[in-house]
Amino acid sequence: MTGVELTAADWALACLLGAAIGLDEVSWPQAMWSRPLVAGTLGGTLFGAPAAGCLAGVWLELVLSRHPPFGGARHPETGPASFTAGAAYAVAGGGAPVGVVAAVAVGWAAGWTGAYSVTLLRRVTPRLVSRPDGFRGGAAALARRHRLALALDGLRAGLLVAALLVPSVLFVRLVSTQPTGAPGPAWWPVAAGLGLAGAAGVAARGLGARARHWPALTAGGVLGTLLVRWLS
């Protein structure tokens, strides 16, 4: 077994951090510590491996960026998902390359679970503050209800991390700790690379690119490849 042990204290701290990260995504203050890059790093830092968490976060930046939150579009909740994925990869030891792929799969699933929990919460919120002809209770009552809605969102995010952290850790650890000599298809890096490239292509188009911008994406790919060659 690789990695570190997940104690009850770690789990409780993770739930608190998860609440703060989930709150940032939509409710307050949208300073983007809920972005995968930051949330993943925080998840990794909690278990002593910030680089592992950050790597999971960087992958998730590409994979989850294909759903920008334009208008009222449904999109995966990136913060608690990336935090959970980063923490899971860090607890699993953060070494095996396939572990990050498992963490990304966990992050993707947690992202959509988070989106569903947000939908459920928004069935409750209208009862607190919403009247078609305007809130009648005055500014002080509105402020109290508004703060209650904020607290509920934080609670939702904390509970989400509480529910998903242990199963995520177990899954990523299980995948990461298979014996290195075990038989398996050699094409997994190919499939992972295609998945990454596909995610990048879709994310690039989702961010307002038009046909005339594809040379810029290609130039970026060439630049990245040159950097890889230069570094290796």
Partner: protein, 242 residues
């Protein structure tokens, strides 16, 4: 009474939670009223009933990008201060929704955020320590974020009824257009760098072919490729690790 500097400060601080009570019926309406309340309280100091009515009016359905909501806060406070009648304020409020939403989505969600995130992610992949990469992202991103909120409130308050012209004069659209190709380059480079980190086993020389793959997939992947398919692919890769 004219709002004081600290009223504007409270309004902008409250604007950070404008989506805190977002719901599908009135969207950010209650959040807008909550953020406007310090300014409305000062403007209607002598008339508590008018203050209460104004809070009620502004808690009706409203939506805008959260970073540009301060434009609406400043504009609506100005109209209230200038004594415009409630119908005019309501019409203005409705007219602000779509432009502020579209402009904010383009400049913040599709422009500045992926730019900062991709740049920081590339820094990490190239060897920057994880906490520094995350910290650099937060500092760079929030410099723009805070500037946009503060500028928005000032723009709205100073422009009042002529806020549309002020938004048109602002260089936001130009910045948005400039960020699109920059983001393409950064996303392409990031994808190629991550592909280059994958084990160099299998039928393709991954360290050499990242750019080709990124370009190919950019052209070939259908716009609405199933997210489930993408995740299944990643999960399959994870499970079949040698």
């Amino acid at each position: 009474m004219r709002p004081r500097r600290r009223d504007f400060a409270r309004a902008i601080l409250r604007s950070f939670s404008i989506q805190g009570s977002w719901n599908e019926r009135t969207m950010t309406g209650p959040g807008l009223a909550h953020a406007l309340a310090p300014l409305l309280a000062r403007i209607h100091t002598d008339d508590p009933a008018a203050f209460r009515q104004a809070v009620r009016r502004h808690s009706r359905a409203f939506n805008a990008h959260p970073y540009l909501a301060p434009v609406a806060i400043g504009t609506l406070a100005r109209l209230e201060f200038d004594g415009d009648d409630p119908d005019t304020v309501s019409r203005f409020r409705s007219a602000l929704r779509a432009p502020l939403g579209a402009l904010g989505d383009g400049i913040a969600w599709a422009g500045w955020r992926p730019f900062c995130a991709s740049a920081a992610a590339i820094g990490f992949v190239l060897g920057l320590d994880a906490p520094y990469a995350a910290g650099a992202f937060l500092i760079l991103y929030n410099a723009g974020h805070l500037a946009l909120r503060i500028w928005g409130l000032r723009c709205g308050w100073r422009s009042g009824r002529s806020v549309a012209a002020a938004l048109k004069r602002a260089p936001l659209r130009r910045l948005e257009r400039a960020l699109v190709p920059a983001n393409q380059v950064l996303i392409g480079a990031l994808a190629a760098l991550l592909i280059g980190q994958l084990p160099a086993t299998g039928p393709a020389p991954w360290r050499e072919g990242g750019a080709v793959i990124v370009a190919l997939m950019g052209y070939l992947v259908p716009r609405h490729i199933s997210a489930v398919a993408m995740a299944s692919l990643l999960a399959a890769c994870a499970v079949w690790l040698p």
